[in-house]
């Protein structure tokens, strides 16, 4: 199932300058794996050694933080949009 992954400005140099990528995957984790297989440099930036997201990386599915859903196991519907963003806050 095609999924669009939006790549933040900070990671574009590691993705050949692309601001988004279309990948196949039934879950968030599968979609990210597919992203890493086309842009190998991204894996170490996004995931820790245990395969989970690094603690300052946020991934949103249709605007919702995947940690409110089922994390990397969250199913992604057809034509879904995943957004990767750094954690930053302070109001």
């Amino acid at each position: 199932m095609p999924v669009t992954v939006k790549i933040p400005a900070q990671l574009r140099p590691a993705a050949g300058g692309a601001s988004e990528a279309t990948v196949e995957g039934a879950t968030v984790g599968e979609a990210l794996e597919a992203l890493y297989s086309s842009h190998g440099e991204l894996r170490a930036r996004i995931a820790g050694d245990d395969g989970e997201l690094r603690r300052f990386v946020n991934v949103f599915l249709a605007g919702e933080d995947i940690r409110f859903l089922e994390g990397l196991a969250t199913p992604v519907p057809d034509d879904a949009e995943l957004t990767i963003l750094p954690a930053v806050a302070g109001g």
Partner: protein, 410 residues
């Protein structure tokens, strides 16, 4: 203490002092790193004491090429000894750092002063922020004072007082249908797309955060270059909390203060307590929450500096606690009744946490405790509405005596 790089707090990769906030290698947050001080403690103290009556007196410890002339002077707020509050809580020495005395009535004037000054040095022409309200006020006011256009992004359901007090300065106010974390996510995306925009708490965040250190410097200076034993401070993103500690640490290292870091107690609202929850569970990663609290200025469900706040609380023998909305209202009241300082809900969170620590016996009666009151009660008036009655009388002496005096005596 000249700034010499931005450095990743996670993997220590360094970057030039640009508008950059996240490590490209590991996505960790960047922080300003400084070269060693070229001056001894006596000389530093002389320079501080000869400086202006605002936060630029601490320019030696801030990441600017040269301190600007203050267009809207900020800082040097009163540190008030609160003996009646202490007595009510069975404590001996409590001090209140009254940040309502800043130009837009919250500590956010500090972080905005530093971020805006750096943004100007870096050549930015537009100032912006994602805000729970106080930051919006400060960005709008300081942008106006410096003649720069401002865009502030806020959750659409923010308190009316904070929205009105932002628009008054001529800023473009953007109400986002969502909570603060949604606003923040949008601004993080926007900051990657609009190169000429300085989002003070996104792409200028390393500089912005440094402004909070000036709270520590002022407290120490107001105590006669001494350290408190304990600091009770609100925790939203965790930035203020950790930077106040960094301020004390820098002055200890510079020889301006003798002793150890105070115990740091963080205060959260129970309706948005990802840091207190992780602390209580012994974890260091904060699971994000959907905020539901009257303390909207602390309603950050996904706190970026949460892990560092927890580390600090553990390392200093402090803690992180959460208090309910009713306790927050009681905290606002307690502070107002005993000190004459009317705080917004965030200060109610802090005061209620102080009361909880005192009640639990966590504070040694001999300790010198400083409480950070970060914002003004006039911005969250709804929480005191209906908590007292106005005496309604005719303009006659007899009615006054019958209605008011006999009522109060009864």
């Amino acid at each position: 203490m000249p700034a010499d790089a931005l450095k990743c707090k996670e993997c220590a990769t360094t970057y030039a002092l640009e508008a950059r906030y996240v490590c490209e290698r590991c996505f960790g947050p960047l922080e300003v790193a400084y070269a060693p001080l070229g001056s001894g403690a006596d000389e530093l103290k002389r320079r501080i004491q000869a400086g202006p009556q605002n936060l630029w007196r601490y320019a030696d410890f801030l990441p600017l090429d040269s301190p600007p002339r203050a267009a809207l002077p900020t800082g040097c707020t009163p540190l008030v000894r609160a003996d009646r509050l202490a007595e009510r809580l069975g404590l001996r020495e409590v001090w209140v750092k009254n940040e309502t005395a800043n130009p837009t009535h919250s500590f956010k004037d500090r972080v905005v002063s530093v971020a805006l000054a750096r943004a100007v040095e870096l050549g930015f022409g537009t100032i912006a922020c994602a805000s729970t309200g106080n930051l919006a006020n400060a960005v709008a006011a300081h942008a106006a004072a410096n003649g720069l256009p401002a865009y502030v992004f806020i959750p659409a359901d923010l308190e009316a007082e904070k929205i009105l007090a932002t628009g008054a300065y001529g800023a473009e106010v953007v109400g986002v249908r969502g909570n603060y974390d949604d606003v923040n996510r949008l601004c993080t995306e926007l900051s990657g797309e609009y190169d000429g925009w300085a989002f003070v708490n996104v792409n200028l965040r390393p500089y912005y955060a440094e402004g909070s250190k000036t709270l520590a410097y002022e407290i120490a200076e107001e105590l006669g270059f001494e350290l408190p034993d304990r600091v009770v401070a609100p925790v939203a993103s965790g930035s203020l909390f950790t930077k106040v500690a960094r301020g004390f640490r820098e002055w200890i290292d510079a020889g301006l203060l003798a002793g150890e870091l105070p115990a740091f107690n963080g205060a959260q609202a129970a309706g948005c307590s990802p840091v207190a929850t992780a602390y209580a569970a012994g974890q260091d990663v904060c699971r994000p929450v959907k905020p539901d609290t009257i303390a909207k200025s602390l309603a950050i469900g996904n706190p970026a500096d949460g892990p560092y706040a927890i580390e600090l609380a553990r390392a200093t023998g402090g803690g992180v606690d959460a208090v309910t909305d009713d306790e927050i209202r009681a905290g606002v009241r307690l502070l107002a009744e005993t000190t004459g300082i009317f705080t917004e809900t965030a200060g109610g969170v802090t005061t209620a946490t102080l009361a909880k620590l005192a009640e639990r016996g966590d504070i040694d009666p001999g300790e010198r405790v400083v409480v950070l009151i970060t914002g003004d009660g006039l911005k969250t008036l709804d929480v005191v509405r209906g908590t007292f009655a106005v005496h309604d009388i005719a303009p006659r002496l007899a009615d006054f005596e019958a209605t008011v005096l006999e009522g109060v005596a009864a």
